[in-house]
């Protein structure tokens, strides 16, 4: 057989793709999104805690945050997912039964929080010190000043970096396949891989890859768009009522330093 034709059929066998597509869209896509978005949200919550601890004046908050960040940024994602997914499986067994899915989300969240913590920290630190001074002069406590004035400004500035992290999570969510998911829990990559393994044809895996690109490429453009908007300002001012000026962000209780 013509080797070029073999190559073509290995990757572009429409029949294999058509066969895999329904499951890809109804099972794989939702699972990938659930894994990535949940991990992004949990990772953000933990990331803010890490960021605030990281700039705390208390050494006992700064140090653990530093060590945590170094460890989870320094390990390969696959190793972390396997360590958490397998290592905590007995514990998870007692809480939610034999289901590796929550552990996958947990592992992804822990990894994301290490990166997001650094992103949030740089965002918070980029807000001028005079803003904190002005808020304190009005009578806001350090904690309230951070929550109402500093963090909302910092977060706006790091939106592009946050979306980049979401992109990374969409890709890294493929790694939870190590943990042996149920058929209904499989995400895009795993479904593509299963079809490829069963048929010996890589077309379904290529289809999975295309699905990732459909998710990630528009997001990279969203990043650029937000970046542009932040750089050049928004075109018009909205009505005062819809300003998300005081996002109700949870702050760690312990981090409320007593700066005077």
């Amino acid at each position: 057989m013509d080797p070029l034709r073999t190559l073509w059929e290995t990757f572009f066998d429409w029949e294999s793709m058509r066969e895999a597509l329904p499951e890809m869209l109804t099972v794989g896509l939702p699972n990938t999104l659930i894994l990535a978005v949940t991990a992004a949200l949990l990772g953000s919550a933990l990331g803010i805690v890490l960021a605030v601890a990281g700039i705390s004046r208390t050494r006992w908050l700064r140090w653990p945050a530093r060590v945590y960040t170094d460890v989870f940024r320094g390990l390969p994602a696959a190793a972390t997912i396997l360590l958490i997914g397998v290592g905590l499986a007995p514990l998870g067994m007692q809480v939610w039964g034999p289901n590796p899915y929550p552990l996958g989300i947990l592992a992804l969240s822990l990894i994301a929080s290490a990166y997001l913590g650094e992103i949030f920290r740089s965002g918070i630190q980029s807000v001028e010190a005079t803003q904190l001074e002005a808020a304190r002069a009005l009578g806001f406590s350090w904690r309230e000043a951070m929550r109402r004035v500093i963090i909302p400004q910092g977060i706006r500035r790091i939106l592009p970096a946050w979306v980049n992290q979401l992109i990374a999570l969409i890709k890294d969510s493929s790694l939870v396949y190590f943990l042996g998911l149920l058929a209904s829990q499989r995400e895009l990559f795993r479904i593509g891989q299963d079809y490829a393994a069963n048929t010996g044809n890589q077309s379904a895996l290529l289809l999975a890859g295309l699905c990732y690109l459909v998710l990630t490429v528009p997001l990279t453009h969203v990043v650029n768009w937000i970046d542009q908007r932040l750089r050049h300002g928004r075109p018009a001012t909205g009505p005062a009522g819809d300003d998300p000026d005081d996002l109700d962000l949870a702050l760690p209780g312990a981090a409320g330093g007593n700066q005077r």
Binding site: A134, L138, F140, E144, V149, P239, A240, D243, R260
Partner: protein, 243 residues
């Protein structure tokens, strides 16, 4: 406006590391009075102002409101009694002008939304910016931003107002409006400490003018005494350079 109080600083010392910035400052402002603090850059004027509301804690000395020391009070509660206006305005850029004023009213004074908005509108009206309530600070001129900052401080109904070179960052044509507003406040009986390079303002509005140099008040008195018959040679030299 809530009742003003008298303000006294007694022998206030403050060092940043080994650098002694305040070296025993005394200052008295009567209830409803206006003190202007003048002096060369780096003389400790802005630092002094920050010891009044304890953004900086004095190493030694005392700060008294109506004769009572405030150094053991809760600093947040103290700052709620003292309004402060900064050189760089320091409005919160991510919220509208109105929100800048209602945020502390709602979160600190615990006013309801309607009451906070009503008070914000009234204060904006007083500084002539009612039409800008929905604008972002970045869309206002420096003078307008500073007037909003003053409105934000006044909305909290402070007993003392501190002005830290409130007009130094403004274009010359915008200075007048802000100074007029400050003069009006002074005549309405607000106790004020004004760090300024505007000698005309100090002469016209102040009850007391204090000349600071190298961390101490070298000379203080009524404007006429300071500007027309200064005794200290440093003050005379300073005045000859700025007038």
């Amino acid at each position: 406006m809530s009742t003003s109080v008298s303000l006294s600083l007694r022998d206030v010392h403050l060092a940043f590391g080994s650098h002694q910035v305040l070296r025993g400052v005394d200052l008295d402002v009567a209830r409803g009075g206006t003190a202007c603090v003048i002096g060369p850059s780096g003389s400790g004027k802005s630092t002094l102002l920050r010891t009044v509301n304890r953004l900086l804690e004095p190493d030694r000395g005392d700060v008294l409101l109506d004769g009572r020391s405030v150094l053991r009070d809760d600093p947040d509660a103290l700052r709620q009694r003292i309004g402060m206006v900064f050189q760089q305005f320091n409005l919160f850029p991510h919220m509208s002008v109105e929100r800048n004023i209602t945020l502390p009213l709602r979160r600190i004074r615990k006013l309801g939304e309607d009451e906070a908005v009503a008070r914000a509108r009234a204060e904006l009206d007083r500084v002539g910016l009612a039409a800008k309530a929905d604008a972002r600070p970045a869309h206002l001129s420096g003078g307008q931003q500073q007037r909003v900052a003053i409105a934000r401080a006044l909305a909290m109904q402070p007993q003392v107002m501190l002005f830290d070179e409130a007009t130094s960052a403004l274009d010359p044509e915008l200075v007048k409006g802000v100074l007029a507003l400050m003069a009006e406040l002074s005549t309405q009986g607000m106790t004020m400490v004004v760090v300024t390079h505007e000698m005309g303002f100090a002469r016209e509005v102040a009850d007391t003018v204090a000349f600071m140099d190298a961390g101490v008040v070298l000379e203080a008195g009524e404007p006429a005494a300071i500007f027309e018959s200064a005794r200290h040679p440093r003050l005379r030299r300073f005045l000859s350079q700025v007038l």
